[in-house]
């Protein structure tokens, strides 16, 4: 009894210090460790690496990796391949973002009613999104191969050389592919957002004599603005991140580097050519770019 009192007192003191259930630390510990090891530490490691002429070495080997300051950044910013990759991201976004927003908004609005086969449609739109990109790229390779179905249907209208080996068409096809693959997700985002638009707004516009089309532009489009912000920012992040498409669909950023992406360059420089410092600098510049573009989007779409 005498021994139990100080024990209880110290437990109370511990509780007031750590909270009522300090076992929470133990339960959360593996996840915290994971996030530190897989996100936080590599992030600072990337910054560190980008200031060095870093290269891989055998574990335990003593090597000198000279500090180069901002030289990696300076070289990246002057690299014509990096310029090409950024141009490709711009082409990608110019095609992908408007198409994604317009088509998924229209299809979500069309889905948002008691219509036959609703579940079938929703499933159909979602299937490309959940399919492995390697498998989906396989289908597109076949559809757009020089002698494939798309060229056959277009006949004399098909470009020469064919889409995937044509410098003018390679990037637009990648943008179309990513749009096609991701739409199902964005349709669901819009479908969820449509439930938050008050029905009274539609009734009011109907009373005012608005046609379904004009009430779509007067009520639906502005009502979906927060969802559009999410869609645009997600699309920008996707646009900065694509790799599988130039690697597989256009055979390694081809033709003649016309479809290289920043991540493809990170792979090529960082891993194939053993310049991880240079690749880390590309990654950081890209992340800063995404942050700025997302900020601008937020500002533009959340104004007023």
């Amino acid at each position: 009894m005498a021994a139990a009192v100080p024990a209880r007192a110290s437990r109370t003191r511990l509780r007031s210090l750590l909270g009522a259930q300090p076992i929470g630390y133990l339960f959360a510990a593996p996840f915290v460790l994971f996030l530190v090891g897989i996100y936080a530490y590599p992030f600072f490691y990337a910054i560190y690496m980008s200031f060095f002429d870093y290269f891989f070495s055998a574990p335990g080997a003593e090597v000198v990796r000279p500090f180069v300051g901002l030289a990696n950044y300076a070289r990246v910013l002057q690299d014509p391949l990096f310029h090409l990759a950024i141009r490709n991201v711009v082409i990608f976004l110019v095609i992908n973002v408007p198409l994604t927003v317009a088509i998924s908004m229209v299809l979500a609005t069309a889905l948002n009613a008691a219509i036959p086969l609703r579940t079938f449609f929703r499933a159909a739109y979602y299937i490309p999104y959940i399919t492995a990109s390697v498998a989906a790229v396989g289908i597109w390779l076949w559809l757009f191969s020089g002698f494939g179905l798309v060229d056959k249907i277009l006949g004399p209208l098909a470009p020469n050389p064919s889409f995937l080996i044509n410098g003018l068409w390679a990037m637009p096809i990648i943008a179309l592919y990513v749009t096609w693959k991701g739409l199902g997700f964005y349709i669901l985002v819009y479908l969820a957002a449509l439930q938050t638009i008050p029905k009274e707004l539609y009734e009011a516009s109907k009373v005012d004599g608005a046609s379904p089309v004009s009430s779509f532009f007067a009520v639906t489009v502005p009502g979906l603005r927060p969802a559009t912000l999410l869609v645009v920012i997600t699309a920008v992040i996707t646009g900065a991140n694509f790799f599988t498409e130039p690697y597989l669909l256009t055979g390694g950023g081809g033709p003649d580097n016309q479809s290289v992406s920043p991540v493809f360059l990170i792979y090529r420089f960082g891993i194939e050519q053993n310049h991880p410092g240079y690749a880390a600098a590309i990654g950081l510049l890209l992340a800063i770019g995404v942050l700025i573009v997302s900020g601008i989007n937020r500002f533009v779409l959340e104004r007023d």
Partner: protein, 302 residues
């Protein structure tokens, strides 16, 4: 109710001779417009998958328009035999399975514990921890790819190991948010009652919480499953040995090496694509509702 009133007002405003039909016609014509748009959409989304299966089943896929509608008698499984002799479907499927299974296990055990702690346990710094997690998760993978590769493959010597493949995906953060969301909905009185009865936190977790968790586990498993199963970039970087390649990586390597040599390699490529895509599509068709709800939840929370 309000919409019925509006319709009545509109009907009354019309000439007396045509009280019903115009309204009915309008009602019928709108869904048609919707349905046509939806059908065109569905065609664009589903046709490539139909075409994938149909082409994979033709020994030499016919690239003409008629190839999309082949004679059923000419279909064969030859391409599946051919892809299997090139990339050993059983081994690569097993590797995909081990990779996915490891991620699922890590996510369910450690992600579940973390979600529970963040939702129902009171400890100092919980909120700060939660917001730090959200902040960390916006770091893009393209930025982390190179340092992760250096760390895991070079510094830890985990290149070409299953552990090295699993590690960056070991706990799916979206699943942690789903768990947290789920545990927050459980009434805290239930936990208080168990605590007053003298149950330890561990006992509460195993006897009270675990049996209630089934729906959250299902949702978390579904969204976690697709990630590693479909993942290409990371396992591609980390595996050099053929014996460890998951199906997505093996198929991609097959595409980038064989496609240049063969005249019409698409039959075998598409057979591999079918094998890779079908498990996820079947899972999706079975659990459509959970998929849809979880992706909306995770998407809107961003």
């Amino acid at each position: 109710m309000a919409s019925a009133t509006t319709e009545m007002t509109v009907a009354r405003a019309r000439p007396v001779e045509t009280p019903g039909p115009p309204e009915q016609q309008k009602k019928r014509s709108v869904p048609w417009l919707r349905l046509i748009a939806l059908f065109i959409g569905a065609l664009v989304f589903v046709f490539p998958f139909y075409y994938m299966v149909v082409s994979a089943l033709q020994r030499n896929p016919n690239p003409n328009i008629s190839g999309a509608f082949p004679n059923p008698a000419s279909l064969s499984l030859d391409n599946f035999v051919a892809i299997n002799s090139s990339i050993n479907l059983v081994r690569t499927l097993l590797n995909s399975g081990f990779f996915t299974g490891g991620v699922l296990l890590g996510t369910l055990v450690f992600g579940g514990l973390a979600g529970y702690a963040l939702a129902q346990l009171h400890f100092r710094g919980r909120q700060a921890l939660f917001y730090t997690l959200i902040l960390l998760l916006v770091l893009p993978f393209q930025l982390l790819m190179i340092p992760l590769y250096v760390l895991i493959a070079r510094n830890f010597g985990l290149g070409d190991t299953l552990l090295g493949m699993i590690l960056p995906f070991a706990i799916n953060p979206t699943a942690v948010f789903i768990f947290r969301q789920f545990f927050m909905q459980l009434p805290s009185e239930m936990f208080e009652a168990a605590r007053i009865d003298g149950a330890s936190e561990l006992k509460i977790l195993t006897r009270v919480v675990a049996p209630l968790t089934r729906p959250a586990i299902l949702t978390a498993m579904l969204i976690t499953f697709i990630g590693p199963w479909n993942e290409f970039l990371w396992p591609f970087l980390i595996t050099k040995r053929l014996e460890l390649e998951p199906l997505a990586v093996a198929l991609a390597n097959y595409i980038s090496t064989v496609a240049q040599r063969a005249a019409n390699p698409y039959g075998t490529i598409l057979a591999g694509a079918v094998v890779l895509a079908v498990p996820v599509v079947i899972l999706f068709l079975f659990f459509q509702r959970q998929f849809v709800e979880s992706s909306i939840g995770s998407g809107v929370k961003g």
